[in-house]
Symmetry: C2
Subunit: 119 residues, 2 copies
């Protein structure tokens, strides 16, 4: 159940335990990887399947070094796996839940920002 999982999350990351702080850094570490528009576009593109760098570069219209940079970041956070095949290097989403979370985030963002009055 959702409530149970949240309680486990609270237990794992107690907001306060005798004034001693317990970190949240794993979640932040992964969340940071999602906090860039180009990386989100790369991830979204990879939901269609494994792709080479050049393919991503073409599809997104970003420079090759920029794509490499962001792919390296996604690899560092373990969100993608890498595989070489000849001269090509293929990147693939490491977990199905990534796409699901992206979808949820989009739904939330859309609704939140739908009837905003100001920026």
């Amino acid at each position: 159940m959702k409530t149970l999982r949240m309680e486990r999350l609270l237990k794992k990351n107690p907001v306060q335990v005798n004034r001693v702080e317990i970190g949240f850094c794993d979640v932040a570490f992964v969340a940071k990887a999602l906090a860039d528009e180009n990386r989100l576009r790369i991830i979204l593109s990879l939901t269609q399947g494994k792709k080479s760098v050049s393919r991503i570069v073409e599809e997104l219209g970003i420079s090759q070094p920029l794509a490499s940079h962001h792919l390296k970041e996604l690899k560092r956070t373990l969100l993608v796996t890498v595989e070489r095949s000849g001269p090509f290097i293929y990147y693939e989403l490491a977990d199905h839940r990534i796409a699901a979370i992206l979808t949820d985030l989009d739904g939330l963002a859309t609704d939140l920002l739908a009837n905003r009055t100001t920026f």
Copy 2:
């Protein structure tokens, strides 16, 4: 269905449309708000319900200006709503899905980083 929602997301944010890029900025905008450990701790704390700034400051053990700063950021991204009552100002999560996404992110992060070989 999950697949349908993903297709809608792809349609809304096509990776490439005649070399014309379509942004992903709403999602990134919200994701950025989740990309900080202290903000995540604030959000987690607020899953327990509406709280005043001073209560958050006590529970998290961060300075009051820092809490205000992050709460302002959460407010800017519409993740929290604000309400004044006397001298106190109460912050509350704006949407139930925020907690759900946090839980999902934690599950993902935990599994991804569980059997990493290196940092």
